[in-house]
Symmetry: C2
DNA sequence: CGTGGCCTTGAATAACCTCAATTAAGGTGG
DNA sequence: CCACCTTAATTGAGGTTATTCAAGGCCACG
């Protein structure tokens, strides 16, 4: 399952990418191998066909480009098909806070609903494909299909709960705990998508990690090095191998032994 | 408008409280003076009567008691009629993070939707009344009334956006900036409910403020004292008067002069 | 009037940040 | 394909901010 993405993830050269893109670019949700992540389960074929209409179009976003930015009028949610994003807010004086990293199967754009305008930027950290889901479609189909309605509510609630954990991280934890939690969360999400539980290639810089975790890039780097020195992980630039996940969990929560 | 709450807010002795409670305890949303805060606007009388059924019951929560706690099964959202709450999450080793403070007209319990169980605690910081809105009612009526559906989505999106700002606060700002932002936010929300824009009585301890803002109670206290010394505010325990709101805004964002 | 909880304040310490120099990696054009 | 250039990551030294630990004051309540 999801092995196509595995290949995609490992090989970043354009040829392979095109190959995989063609292979995975199905037209409809009903044929999408990420359906279980984006969409509710337990639909019959007929309903599923109707649900396909929730996605209006696809958009391809190049690495470094914005999917949407602060102030843009909100019309659609976006389901990530391939690629990786960060969302961030910034102050007038230029300080930036990364509010999240999103990968395939995750939904972005929820921030725009409240005011009909986006309040953050979504930046592609690698070449990405997204499914554009006009929010009016989402709402219309939600009224028709209680299962979809519940699903949308769960997605928003999940985001609220995630942000609660980040607040805990930022408010109560020290640098190394934050990085441990970050790595464990990342690898867990990747594993749910069919990737390794122990190896990963970071898609973001030390500075972006630091912004997310409320610390400076040097502090992030030092924490990586420390984990490396202690044999908990192997680090080489953006490649990370988790050698001793138990120790990492122990750092994240000292009470949790093994 | 909302003057009943003004009285309630100022006088915390039980007699007055009972008096006000009786005065404001209307049965239905249609007759509630907080309707504009909790409910969508622009309904005709007929629809409004149907919307009244979203609230099943009332619950009174004594100061210090829990409305719900981590692990409780989720069935309902709660609209605060009177009173004040904090929500908080905690780690196994006992560290607590306040994730928000909620006042009249605000909705709590959204964290429970994703897993059908609450993932945080909601504690009354004063004797409070809440409207219990079974989530199945909310979803059912949302399917019937697009305006309500949109309203529910906006409430969840607003919470996501709020938490984004808190992440900015925790990740990028220094102690005094955080406290300035906190006070400005609090007084702005109180003002929207008919209270003073310059005076307030804090319902939470220094420790709870500190937990929310990611700092220790001593640091909170020092920041209060510093603002007091500089004549920006007057502080006496939990009473705070904002004397120079412009300076407070300037601290919050140095670029924003006046 | 005494007690306990909350708040304030001070001094010493630790954690993280800033500044700066060095090294490594990736991209580009010859 | 390689040298160069640019960007990202690492590491060290010193400074700043917030924390920790501790003592004393204020206030509400019995």
């Amino acid at each position: 399952m999801l092995t196509g993405y595995d290949v995609y993830w490992q090989n970043m050269n354009p040829e392979t990418m095109t190959e995989v893109s063609v292979a995975t670019l199905k037209v409809a949700c009903s044929g999408c191998n990420l359906r279980e992540l984006c969409m509710p389960v337990g639909f019959n074929t007929e309903d599923m066909q109707k649900l396909d209409t929730v996605v209006a179009t696809r958009r391809r976003i190049k690495q470094g480009d914005l999917l949407f930015s602060n102030g843009d009028s909100f019309t659609s949610l976006f389901a990530i098909r391939t690629g990786f994003f960060k969302t961030c807010v910034s102050t007038i004086d230029g300080r930036e806070q990364v509010t999240g990293f999103q990968m395939a199967g995750e939904i972005i754009g929820l921030d725009g609903i409240v005011s009909d305008h986006h309040s953050c930027n979504a930046v592609a950290l690698e070449d990405s494909d997204v499914c554009v889901m006009p929010f009016s479609n989402v709402e219309e189909l939600s009224r028709e299909f209680p299962v979809l309605q519940r699903h949308v509510h769960k997605i928003m609630s999940r985001e609220i709960v995630r942000e609660n954990s980040v607040m805990m991280l930022l408010g109560n934890m020290r640098a190394e705990e934050r990085l441990a939690a970050f790595l464990l969360n990342l690898v867990q999400r990747l594993h749910a998508r069919g990737f390794s539980q122990s190896e990963l290639t970071l898609r973001m810089s030390r500075e972006e990690i630091g912004s997310y975790l409320g610390m400076k890039l040097e502090t992030v780097s030092r924490a990586f090095s420390k984990f490396g020195d202690e044999g908990i992980i192997e680090v080489k630039q953006r490649y990370v191998k988790i050698v001793k996940p138990d120790l990492l969990k122990k750092i994240f929560n000292p009470e949790t032994c093994i």
